[in-house]
Symmetry: C2
Subunit: 235 residues, 2 copies
């Protein structure tokens, strides 16, 4: 850990350290942080660097600063819960089960909607990209090859939605979920189990059938739920 921390810039480290403390609950909402001067010496960085970090945290809605009063941890209602860092910090902290449930709920809402949007608005080149990824999945012989092709498939679908808001949301939720789920032993041995689902999604997008695409994705999610095992990823 130590060498990795050394490579990243100081303010990045400070942002992460304070951000994690807040999101993990070590610092409670309403708590007053030490003054900038004290906090800077405490973390062994200059006030300049500390302030750069604080501004970023304020931009994420985690803290608020007022002159004379100092800094306070804001109520979670004001946090940018969809910020990639905030999500990552929540994943890093020991999250409650219901947080994972919330992520799963988001995926269940977004993914069917995304493939439906792709079915409506995909352009020829984008369909081709999805098809190419699907082909790579079919021809994959190892778990790694499959994983790479699967990632390409999802990215291609994302691009085909032609809605960067949707793909942005999709991206952060998937990244957070990826922290928690690993393939079960059964799935690892039969890693192509989801291929028919992917093909169904592809076909629905090719034929421009939004409803069918959404249904296929819902089936895929339901199936994958049964095949996933919860637990922190080793890597």
């Amino acid at each position: 850990m130590a060498p990795r921390a050394a490579t990243r810039s100081l303010h990045a480290q400070v942002i992460e350290e304070i951000g994690e403390s807040i999101v993990s609950g070590a610092l409670q909402p309403g708590d007053a942080l030490p003054g900038e001067a004290q906090l800077a010496t405490q973390m062994a960085v200059s006030r300049t660097v500390l302030r750069e970090a604080l501004k970023v945290l304020a931009a994420k809605g985690l803290i608020e600063t007022r002159q004379k009063t100092g800094m306070r941890v804001r109520d979670p209602r004001h946090w940018n819960h969809l910020d990639a860092d905030v999500l990552a910090w929540r994943c890093a902290a020991m999250p409650t089960d219901d947080f994972v449930d919330k992520l799963v709920e988001m995926r269940a809402i977004i993914e069917p909607a995304a493939v439906a949007a792709a079915a409506r608005r995909r352009e020829p080149a984008q369909l081709e990209a999805i098809g190419a990824a699907l082909e790579a999945m079919e021809e994959s012989t190892t778990l790694d090859e499959w994983a790479v092709a699967d990632l390409h498939f999802h990215e291609a679908v994302l691009a085909a939605t032609n809605n960067e808001l949707l793909s942005s949301l999709f991206g952060v939720i998937e990244a957070a979920l990826g922290t928690f789920f690993v393939m079960s032993a059964r799935t690892a041995k039969n890693f192509k189990y989801a291929l028919p689902h992917h093909r169904a999604v592809y076909e629905a997008i090719r034929r421009r059938r939004p409803n069918e695409a959404a249904a296929a994705m819902q089936a895929m999610i339901a199936d994958s739920r049964a095949n996933m095992r919860k637990g922190k990823k080793s890597g």
Copy 2:
């Protein structure tokens, strides 16, 4: 404008100025920004303040900085499109029609899902809050009273989802949409036209019927589409 700008902190102004330039397209992805020193004098602020702003913009994914190379505008694919500031800047710039369409698409995905979630997981006190807001809407006699009660209704539903990811998303999308739509003259005169829809949503949540709640919300969205006029708000 001038007095308002004076009240906000310098870095906030710098963040907004550069952020808008990027999001509006005045600065193209890949473009190199002037060095910190030059940019600071150009904007008449200290390098300290400028850097605080740049760190925030980097956190939003708008720029990336590397030593020796300087700063570059990142590809939009890396932007935090769901960041409240980024969305606000896009709204402030002259947005293309299809951006508004994307926002509307997001709303069509989220709102039915949100009321369905509220129907599944609302707690008694939360239902009561929704009911109180609905009552206020029924008893409102002016457009202002209606607007306030309507806002409370939406906030109460949001809280009742018990999923801060969902409510966070809901919040930023609604805020962005609020920039674009104003009530049409016809709607203003008959501002209670949406009351039956609200009541239907409330009833579905009360009876814990997710599907009915989603359907009622979809009907409400479809109806409001016909009654909204596109255009920038005057305020």
